[in-house]
Amino acid sequence: MSSIRCRQLCKTFKQGDEIITGLDHIDLDIDEGEFVCLSGPSGSGKTTLLNAIGGLDTPDSGEIHMGNIRVDQLERGPLADMRLRHIGFVFQAYNLIPVLTAQENVEFVMEVQGLAAAERAQKARAILEEVGLEGMEDRRPAQLSGGQQQRVAVARAIVSHPDLVLADEPTANLDSVSAGHLMGLFQELNQHHRITFVISTHDKRVMRYAKRLIKMQDGKIIGDEAQES
């Protein structure tokens, strides 16, 4: 399911009269169980690429395959289902539903997936403890710090063991201890559950965990190398 193949992906944005390049003929293969970091300057197209892979945004041209599925050709409904069942998202900016508590936010995806209440609650609590939010289950996002919110989002993304986790700057709001802890958690999930990780980051500490580091600039891939961890 989770091997990803992108061919000649292009995406442009219009801003007034200006045409901005988001992705410029991207070719990319990511195998199941890889741990990939996307790096590159701001505006280089990392978020745009993650959104395209995750089926949030359709490319102007090119193909995205996930397993046997042509992600770029799915209708809205099946696309939503694919995201629900197979992908965990951590977004760059806005991650949590304000009217739900930390635990309810984590449970939300499982609830829509149709998991039983007891199982949901147990899993949500375990994962919140794992990301260091024990005792904060009943707080609403507004009562959590930026870093804590980020961790709730991470917990939600990984709680139901998706095939693929797409994380956009997951450590942006974290101190180095929490960031290290989080990356350790990602690494463990990657190694023991063969969950594929694609993480965009500016953070050198994060890149160290990557087995493969992709550098982007102006919507192009300018570097792609394997790393010893």
Binding site: N51, G54, L56, D57, R76, G77, A80, D81, M82, R83, L84, R85, I87, F89, F91, A93, Y94, N95, L96, I97, P98, V99, L100, E104, F108, V109, E111, V112, G114, R156
Partner: protein, 413 residues
């Protein structure tokens, strides 16, 4: 739908909490819905009460819910257009349950004369014991007494007529009419009672004597002008009408009130339409607020809707969620509105005195006291209209929210 029920709890939680996010806006909208629903039900009950009163008065003037008579009688109330007193099958049908009231009646044109004046009148021969239920006349006696038996020798006239004739209680008057052979039939009566009616015209024209006394006077023993029936509820006489029509002898006409007085029938039939129009008009006023509320609610949480979509909630579930939010708002508003209507109508059950505007009311044939009439039908109608149309008007904003592009929605600030 299966998906919907599966996620119902999630959606309900989201809807309920979102509803109370902007308490001020929700409270204002709830106030508007409550007052709107209250106005729908309360005003409808008043309207119904008023029309009910008009119809009851109108039917009392006919009188009766169903009339049995000679086919020519209504056009020409001549003594020759009479029928046999109830007998045989008809009598059996009339008697077949105890609840209703019926009576033989006589009605002929006549001249009444005192020693000073004379006037043309409607001479009505009645069976005094059933009259309370037919015209309510016994309750309108202002002086003297009402007739006491079918062969009472007295006469009851209106106060207005007494004034015109310059006569009064206890005086004798002469009543003159024709028998079927066109001979003059006349007889002296003592005025034993004076009545006052809501309508002055009645007081002046209707003169009441006992049925048998008139039969003798007119030489029509065993025959009457009409047989009239009053059932429990004028709204529901169709079945009885069919049964009586079946049992009536040939050459006799049976008519329900709505065929005798088409004006009353039109008023009756238009009521439901009026109520619907009224309810819909109020709803239209409400719908602007409702749509505005939803559009604002969606606008305020574009990012969240983008997030929910991005996480994999199908667009259809987003539509359901927003519709459910709207439904919750409507249901709470309905609850308060119904409650308000109930507690404001309850104290008015003994009548709302509108004598300040009584003259206008009398012109329309209604009394000066309105008895609000709260019917289940109207309450259900108001509630159903609000829920159905409310959901309908919510569909567009909900659908538009579901069509938001998740990435763009997520990046809205």
């Amino acid at each position: 739908m299966a998906r919907f029920s599966l996620h119902f709890k999630t959606i309900l939680t989201l809807s309920w909490r979102n509803l109370w996010r902007n308490r001020r806006r929700t409270a204002i909208m709830l106030g508007a819905i409550s007052v709107g629903v209250w106005a729908m039900i309360f005003m409808t009950a008043l309207m119904r009460g008023m029309v009910d009163d008009m119809l009851n008065q109108g039917i009392r003037n006919l009188p009766g819910h169903i009339q049995i008579q000679h086919p020519e009688f209504l056009d020409d109330p001549n003594v020759v257009n009479s029928i046999d007193e109830a007998h045989g099958d008809l009598l059996a049908a009339l008697k077949d349950d105890g609840g209703r009231v019926w009576a033989n009646r006589i009605r002929v044109p006549a001249v009444i004369a005192s020693e000073r004046e004379s006037r043309g009148v409607n001479l009505v021969g009645i069976e005094p014991l059933s009259e309370t239920h037919i015209t309510g006349l016994p309750g309108q006696i202002a002086a003297g007494r009402f007739l006491e038996s079918n062969d009472d020798k007295g006469l009851v006239i209106g106060a207005k007529l007494a004034e015109r004739l310059e006569t009064r209680l206890g005086k004798r008057v002469v009543v003159m009419s024709q028998d079927p052979d066109n001979n003059i039939a006349e007889r002296g009566f003592r005025v034993v009672g004076i009545y006052r009616a809501e309508l002055a015209a009645q007081e002046e024209f209707n003169v009441y004597a006992a049925r048998e006394t008139l039969q003798k006077l007119l030489k029509i023993e065993g025959r009457v002008s009409q047989i009239v029936l009053v059932d429990d509820d004028y709204r529901d006489v169709e079945a009885l009408y069919q049964r009586i029509a079946q049992a009536a002898p040939e050459g006799v006409e049976v008519k329900p009130w709505y065929e005798i007085d088409t004006y009353l029938a039109v008023m009756f039939n238009m009521m439901d339409g009026f109520v619907l129009v009224w309810v819909v008009i109020i709803f239209l006023a409400l719908s602007f607020g409702l749509v505005n509320t939803l559009v604002m609610a969606v606008f305020e949480r574009i990012r969240e809707i983008g997030l929910i979509q991005a996480l994999g909630m199908r667009p259809s579930l987003i539509v359901y969620q927003i519709l459910l939010e709207s439904l919750l708002l409507l249901l709470i508003g309905l609850f308060i509105g119904n409650l308000l209507a109930l507690i404001t109508i309850k104290p008015l059950e003994d009548g709302l005195d509108v004598s300040i505007v009584a003259e206008g009311m009398a012109m329309m044939g209604a009394g000066s006291v309105i008895y609000p009439s709260l019917t289940l039908y109207d309450v259900v109608l108001a509630n159903v209209v609000v829920v159905l149309l409310g959901i309908l008007t919510s569909i567009l904003p909900a659908w538009r929210a579901s069509q938001l592009d998740p990435v763009r929605a997520l990046n809205t600030h």
